[in-house]
Amino acid sequence: MSERLVFDGVSKIYPPWEMHQRSLKHLIPRMLSHRSRPEPRYALRDVSFSLGSGQMAGLIGANGAGKSTLLRLASGVARPTHGRIRLSPNTASVLTLGDLFDFKLSGRDNAITAAIAAGVPRRRAIEQVGEAAAFAEIEEFIDAPLRTYSDGMRLRLAFGVLTQLDPDVLLLDEVLAVGDLRFQQRCMDFVTERRRRGTTVVVASHSLEQVVQECDRAVWLHRGEVRGVGPAESVVAAYRRAAKEETARRTDPSKLPDGLLEAGVNRYGSFEIVIEGVELIGRDATPVTDIVTGDSLEVRMRLRRTAPEGAKHPIVGVTIVRADDGVVCYDTSTESNGVHVGSADDGRTLRLVFDRLDLLPGAYHVDVGVYEPNWEYAYDYHWQAYPLRVTGASPDSGVFRPPHRWVAD
């Protein structure tokens, strides 16, 4: 297995001045004096890893951890300040392909330009535009101006263009998390097929689940430095452990806004966003602690922002855990379900509705949490605070009881 992408002690320092200072008034004094320079900003510091052909690496870390900078360096458009990068000149990156699109022009024109910009000879780009449109399933709209496209269609078109390329290294940025599930699956199939042919893939992802499922390697960046690199599962596990520790570290009992819960005991988080008024609503639309197997259940909560800024687009998760042995019976989140909890939802009630909850009789806890968008730590996590008793006559054993019947033919 040959090495396709190698970072060797790579650091990237961005110029310390800001955008508005980029005029001669600021530039000339800066050229003349070397003294009053502000501190350099390290976007990446001493990053090393290497990826072989056919490997797929997930890039994880909070916003601002350096993921975009790393991808930009890996694509070759930017150069490192220190260190060495070995990359293939035949690198394709979908991060920026869609940015090229001109809304005034047709899908066809845009697809051709994007392909040419990605290194496809013009003639071939024109010939293959049909295939790109077919992959994107937008053949009938290909000659319509791009402004008439939905976001999803534009994204599909960008990915359609990508399928025409045969790069040594493919850089993806979160793209697989957008679009409908079926299309995501087709993109994934394409990526898998290219990997089989030896393409190395790097994907920046917020979804830890996706990284574990799809990638064989992971690179965890934290404030520009590599915190972990190696097999995806172990890196993600370490990331999750760190998130737990980070949450504990940020849990400050004095900031606790609610008397029912006790910080550090059954409540953890930074409390930048807090969960309030959690209620389990039963079949008759009133709060319950007991339900019968197969009843409906609604988990209702209110999110409130306490931090003046930041803490946007949080993830909300709900877990049902069996009290006796801690078995996770069900775990879901707004992220895994593709639901966006915007900052506009501040003060609004969020409801998770189970039309049927077919848990077997027993004692359970409903744990709720609201998390930093990268699962870096919890804003607020209520642990074993909401008991749920499921009753019923079923003598079956296990965790859940799907509706069923026996049939003898």
Binding site: R22, R72, A78, A92, S93, I116, R122
Partner: protein, 254 residues
């Protein structure tokens, strides 16, 4: 990054075509716009300097137009090229796309105006009876102008990214240069003691050369043409080197 010359030229043409298509999309007169724009400016100049302040130049319309075409191409090309890297951020971020083509695209786009104006000029020359075989050397002067513009474009486009004052500076210089280039007047009308000032401007030699081959005005001296050729090549080479040098840091400053 090293693209074969054919691919390189194809890329420039494709991007220029795309930009033209985007510019004319949704307009009513579409491709007639470049022609309309130039004729409108020509009309005003002919009215002001042909009638209001009569400069006494024979066949004034065609005289002005020959200079105006070259000037318009230069001014709009250099203006567009100066912000070509800043404005095309997304193209700069494409790993396989050589950024150095962007200023050339910006020059190629207004060249279309030249192509549209050419039949009009020839038509005018036929009417005034000034058309001669010398017009065949016209493409050579165009090539010289292109080389000069490319050099300037590479310099202004790349430095603009680092110092955002450059586009403002370029526009001031171009405004001044319009009056310091014999577009609506002839070099003959210039007092001898100031002629050298105008000759410092390479566009003076270019415009005079265009006029020499088109309307039979006295052409620039061979030494001026030689100097222009050397200057153009030197500027283009310097521009290429400067762009290559600054290219590495472009994305960090965009």
């Amino acid at each position: 990054m090293a693209l074969p010359p054919r691919e390189f030229a194809g890329l420039v043409l494709h991007l220029a075509r795309r930009e033209l298509a985007a510019t004319h999309e949704g307009t009513f007169i579409g491709w007639a716009w470049p022609v309309f724009r130039q004729l409108a400016q020509l009309g005003v100049l002919v009215f002001v300097f042909g009638s209001v302040l009569d400069l006494g130049i024979e066949n004034f319309a065609v005289f002005v137009f020959t200079g105006l075409i070259a000037w318009t191409w230069f001014a709009s090309g250099v203006t567009a090229a100066t912000s070509s890297v800043i404005a095309n951020r997304h193209l700069v971020f494409q790993p396989r796309l050589p950024t150095i083509v962007l200023p050339l695209v910006a020059i190629a786009v207004p060249f279309v105006d030249v192509l549209f104006a050419l039949p009009i000029v020839i038509g005018m020359l036929v009417v005034t009876g000034e058309l001669s075989w010398q017009i065949a050397t016209w493409p050579a002067i165009m090539l010289l102008q292109f080389v000069l513009m490319a050099g300037i474009a590479w310099i202004t486009a790349s430095t603009s990214v680092y110092a955002r004052d450059i586009p403002g500076l370029v526009s001031v210089v171009l405004t001044m240069l319009f009056y310091l280039t014999p577009v609506f007047y002839g070099l003959r009308a210039v007092p001898d003691e100031y002629e050298w000032v105008l000759n410092l401007n390479p566009l003076t030699t270019l415009v005079t050369a265009y006029r020499a081959v088109m309307v039979g005005e006295p052409g620039p001296s061979m030494s001026l043409v030689g100097a222009l050729t050397l200057v153009s090549i030197a500027v283009a080479y310097a521009g290429w080197r400067i762009f290559r040098r600054l290219e590495r840091g472009l994305v960090d400053h965009l």
